[in-house]
């Protein structure tokens, strides 16, 4: 954990490609170039945060001052299986259909 100013971003296309993979987006080469330029501009803009003295400030993930309440112990009707399965773009019987995943190596 550090409060020091972030390094000036050097958002190259390789990094953008890495972020796209993390985000599960497949971008064409043209899109990659365009989005790299856009991201770099936004990152430069948000860099003004680096100049703020944030020493000792507790990060605030949410302004909601209330959470983790106990719910009343009352049964409520769940969504029907038909509704949930029906929302999937592809299904077989009572199952959501997906491509085979087991024989594609550990990264799949």
């Amino acid at each position: 954990m550090t409060d020091s100013a972030p390094e000036k971003p050097q958002l190259n296309e390789q990094q953008v490609r890495h972020v796209a993979r993390l985000a599960r987006l497949s971008l064409s080469e043209d899109e990659l170039t365009a989005i790299a330029a856009d991201l770099d501009a936004v990152v430069r803009f948000v860099d003004r945060l680096a100049k703020v003295d944030v020493q000792g400030l507790e990060p605030m993930a949410s302004p909601h001052g209330h959470s983790s309440r106990l719910h009343p112990d009352e049964p409520i009707a769940p969504l029907s299986q038909e509704t949930v399965i029906g929302a999937a773009p592809e299904h077989q019987g009572d199952y959501v259909a997906v491509p085979k995943v087991l024989d594609q190596g550990a990264d799949a």
Binding site: Q15, R48, P59
Partner: protein
Amino acid sequence: MTHPETARDIAAAVQAGQTTAIEVLETRLARIEQIDQQLGCFQQVRAETARADAHRVDEAIARGEAAGPLAGVPIAIKDNIMVQGEPATCGSRILEHYVAPYEATAIERLRAAGAVMLGRTRCDEFAMGSSTEHCAFGPVHNPWCHTRVPGGSSGGSAAAVAAGLVPCALGSDTGGSIRQPASLCGVTGLKPSGGRISRWGLVSFAPSMDQIGPFTRDAADAALLLQVMAGQDHRDDTSAEAIPPSGLQGLDAPLQGLRIGVPAEHCSADNHPEVNAAVERAVDTFKSLGATVCDVQLKTTELGVACYYVVGPAEASSNLARFDGIRYGRRADAPGVELEELYARSRSEGLGAEARRRIMLGTWVLSAGYYDAYYRRALQVRRLIHDEYAALFKQVDLLLGPTVPAPAFKLGEMADPIDMYLCDTYTVTANIAGICGMSIPGGLADVDGDTLPVGLHLQGPVLGEDRILQAAHQFQQATDYHLSQPPGAATSTCS
């Protein structure tokens, strides 16, 4: 000039038997049929189901029952709020054929109050935008001038109310998405405090800042709709356990002794001159109503948009991860590809440019090596913004300023994403800090020969809606800006 009908007028007339819910509905449906082709406010009008809803209200009244404070009032719903059994596209191809499996709490409560859900309005994809140009199904046009944007992301709802297609509509506001379009379209738009209205059934964009709120013709209608929708909900743990808002009660209480602060940073010389002139006129009006008005500083204003464009995309990238083409939404037609490739293709084909840009940005600020420098730091700046507001609300009861720096811009005019983001400079900090805010009409400006509305921004502390609604109501009793309507919405004659 005939005054636009309020939700209160309609509900009173329907309940008293002077008209029926079905008559009210048919009038609005006819108007939509007549002019919405030019405006594009509606993604879908649900005429048949709305007729069935209206008949139910009429039947209840025929049986001598009280049909609720919104008896027979037609409401338009932003297309990111779930109405059970209806599509909820969020303005995105990825959800084009998605049907909401359950009902948003806000909709449940509106229905119980007698309201009739008339249709769903267009918005920027996943509520990301300030112009409604980022809607996958087409843009919305500003009823005041069809070559200009209605603002966004709740542009369809704002324009529908401005054009008299509906007396009220729902939007959602994560960084200004209710207040900015309300300002650009000349209607009243309320962003309640974080937690005031349950987010159950609102498709998540950035849950720490998302909030449902109403567009109305005036502040009293906003107070009524807030009262109907507000309240704790066990399905949304961030909904606040709080004293309910007072609705119409207390709106007429005098403003004597009310302390209003005007943030110097919001009255920038870079604003359109008519925007600053509207704020000056409003200061005089509030003084004449007995309030004391003083200049204050809101130094964190310049940090708001930067903080927002770290926190918002970070939350969005997490929330939109659910759209993977597996459980719901659109799946890429790519037989034989591996799972990860299927995810990537489904998302890339289904999500538009702005959504992809924010997902990328959010993923980056949360990624290893950048989390502390960007995300954690933004959360610390958020604390700073929150604390500055909290200190300010010990000195004054509410803040007054412009909602946006300038009136409506032209479709296609705002090409640079950062310029678009800066439209939200005065509104984002309310979401960051969780406080309430609203935009009310503050006059008309002449921009290159076009007559366009200018909005006033009122901000109050967390759960302080009663106070800003009271101030807005008194302002509207003393002025007639909120009664201005676009010149014959079907035949707007602007450049």
